[in-house]
């Protein structure tokens, strides 16, 4: 059992606050992705869990044991680094065996575990090579195998795929997900790539400016963003936002159209809709098309609504040209509302 509890963890570098009091509980065997733009504090949080950084405040517990004062080697974790950190003076075999040798495990057992993890990561034919003789993808496999061979309770991954090319990344993504699910470890995975996060995570913790803005399942994060930032950050193209003016109790006027919304005692709130949830109709938000991008599976239309940007994903057989005026009708159950002051969902 390796449940991870992060209680009020904060980190300050001089006058800069990298993390504001983070609370997060990660269940045993859960795969949690810390997602955010660079500088949001996700890597700092991971390094605090690993013991490579000390928190200014707060506690970290793994499997019911408080570990924030322990050195990395006593935390029952293994880590995969962004630049692989494969030891250049050791063969692939000795790299994978490194952690096991430190635990003074006997040779036959080391041999068995190394060959098993090497097989798992499809690098059994590379065991005698040095890291200088490996490609980036192979090094990444060695780094993962080295972590897996430890059979840790917790695996921490710091942007492990970001140095790989796009095709390889997609391949490794699926493979890693399978291997990690099989291994039954608890995984914390840091990335800035939302596709990676969506496709791999049991739960995504979206981070922004040193805070966790939302921690929920990928679909929940996508469908019901907890804050303006999440809607704008996740999804490609991102969520559309327009200003809605109050039009009576629970009714809101958006670019000339009126929709049912929350009963908020405010003059204006933010109306939000995903581009794929807009459909051309007889009636709807009047949008002047600026750019049309046929992407094969669908067509992306970038439009202008009273000076605001609105993107719509249309059927690829839709005939539309720059300058046309489209009437776009949002799917009523997909409309979301945000408070413009707190930026939180209403």
């Amino acid at each position: 059992m390796a449940e991870i509890q992060i209680k009020g963890v904060a980190k300050r570098f001089g006058s800069f606050t990298a993390l504001h009091s983070i609370d997060l509980t990660i269940a045993d065997q859960e795969f949690v992705v810390l997602l955010g733009a660079s500088g949001c504090g996700k890597t700092t949080l991971l390094r605090i869990i690993a013991g490579l950084e000390t928190p200014s405040e707060g506690e970290v517990w793994i499997g019911g044991r408080r570990i924030d004062h322990l050195p990395p080697r006593q935390r029952g974790i293994a880590m995969v680094f962004q630049n692989y950190a494969v030891f250049p003076h050791l063969t692939v075999f000795e790299n994978i065996a490194f952690g096991l040798r430190m635990q003074k495990i006997e040779d036959s057992e080391v041999e068995r575990r190394v060959s098993r993890t090497a097989e798992l990561m499809h690098i059994e034919q590379l065991l005698k090579r040095y890291s200088g003789q490996l490609s980036g993808g192979q090094r990444q496999r060695v780094a993962v195998a080295r972590a897996m061979a430890m059979e840790p309770e917790v695996i921490l991954m710091d942007e492990p795929l970001s140095n790989l090319d796009a095709l390889l990344r997609m391949e490794m993504r699926a493979e890693l997900k399978g291997v990690l699910a099989e291994s039954k470890t608890t995984t914390i995975y840091v990335t800035h790539d939302q596709v990676e996060a969506m496709s791999m995570a049991d739960r995504i913790a979206v981070m922004h400016q040193g805070k966790i803005v939302q921690a929920a399942s990928p679909v929940e994060v996508y469908r019901n963003p907890a804050a303006h930032f999440v809607g704008g950050f996740i999804g490609n193209p991102p969520m559309n936002f327009l200003t809605a003016n109050s039009a009576g109790e629970g009714r809101w006027e958006v670019a000339g159209q009126t929709y049912d919304g929350p009963a908020a005692a405010r003059k204006t709130i933010d109306f939000a809709i995903r581009p794929e949830d807009l459909e051309p109709a007889e009636q709807g938000i009047a949008a002047t098309v600026r750019v049309v991008e046929p992407l094969g599976a669908h067509t992306l239309a970038t439009c202008d609504v009273g000076g605001h940007l609105l993107r719509a994903v249309l059927e690829s057989d839709t005939v539309v040209r720059s300058g046309d005026v489209l009437h776009l009708q949002p799917r009523p159950d997909r409309i979301r509302w945000f408070d413009p002051d707190t930026t939180l969902a209403i």
């Binding site: 080697r73 880590m79 950190a85 430890m150």
Partner: protein, 281 residues
């Protein structure tokens, strides 16, 4: 149009050729500056004493080892050579033992005054040794370190330390911190990670900085001449007997001093370039 451009087009190759010529001449000059003395040293060392003192000089050595033999059998040379080796060896060990931790700290930790420390390390080379030699001599006499190999090695260590610190700083900076961090997460203590991961990777460079410290001590003459009387190193010994010793002895002594230094420096040149490289960082 065509007429107007032609003279310019003709002038350009001319200028380029002149620049090339100048460049070549400069290189030849620099090479000569370094190589001619070494050449003369070699020719005279490998000629018989009569040829060395005679005239005209030869362009090619006669490969007569009489000068060498004369030098080696000269009274006090053996002792001085031994002192030089001992002093240089102690300097080498001390410089690495003190310099490498400082280099490691500079490359791995942020601490207040780090940049000041880096400047100060170099500043020690800015003091002219003659200025320090007299007070040092007085102090050494008081504590009983005067005229000892160890005392001289201490002074040489001071001279070699800035280089040891800067070379090792650049070496350790070349080892990504992630390698150490990976080792920590895989069960190593800080010391264990250093021993198992960092050491094997910096070993060749560390050896190079040790050799460089050795050469600094080996070549040093001023402190050696001031601080020792009976226990002279080879440089001090040759300096002392410079005006009284015959020419062949000087040449042979020079060669014995220069050749090991040359070989060592040549062997570690890659790491010395790395050290100069950090001046730009």
């Amino acid at each position: 149009m065509t007429d107007a451009t032609q003279p310019i087009a003709a002038a350009r190759p001319d200028r380029r050729r002149a620049a090339k010529l100048l460049f070549g001449a400069t290189i030849v000059l620099f090479c000569a500056w370094v190589l001619v003395p070494i050449y003369l040293l070699a020719v005279n060392t490998l000629s018989s004493p009569e040829e060395v003192t005679g005239f005209p000089k030869r362009f090619f050595p006669s490969f007569d080892l009489a000068s060498m033999r004369f030098f080696i059998e000269f009274a006090g040379v053996g002792r001085a050579l031994w002192n030089s080796i001992m002093t240089a060896s102690i300097t080498m060990v001390l410089a690495v033992l003190i310099g490498a931790p400082a280099g490691y700290a500079l490359s791995r930790f942020d601490f207040p005054g780090k940049n000041l420390f880096r400047v100060l390390v170099l500043m020690t080379r800015a003091f002219p040794l003659p200025l320090l030699a007299l007070p040092l001599a007085v102090m050494f006499i008081r504590v009983g370190l005067d005229d000892t190999v160890f005392g001289l090695a201490l002074v040489h260590t001071t001279l070699a330390l800035p280089f040891a610190v800067l070379i090792t700083f650049s070496l350790f900076s070349g080892v990504p911190i992630e390698l150490e961090e990976a080792a920590w997460t895989l069960g190593c203590t800080r010391l264990g990670a250093f021993r198992k991961v960092v050491m094997p990777l910096v070993m060749p460079g560390l050896a190079a900085s040790a050799v460089f410290a050795f050469v600094i001590s080996w070549n040093e003459v001023f402190a050696a001449a001031v601080l020792t009387i009976k226990n002279r190193t080879l440089t001090a010994f040759l300096l002392q007997s410079l005006d009284v010793s015959p020419l062949p002895l000087k040449f042979a002594g020079g060669a014995v001093l220069v050749i090991p230094a040359l070989i060592f420096i040549f062997a570690v040149r890659k790491y010395l370039f790395a050290m100069w490289g950090i001046a730009n960082r």
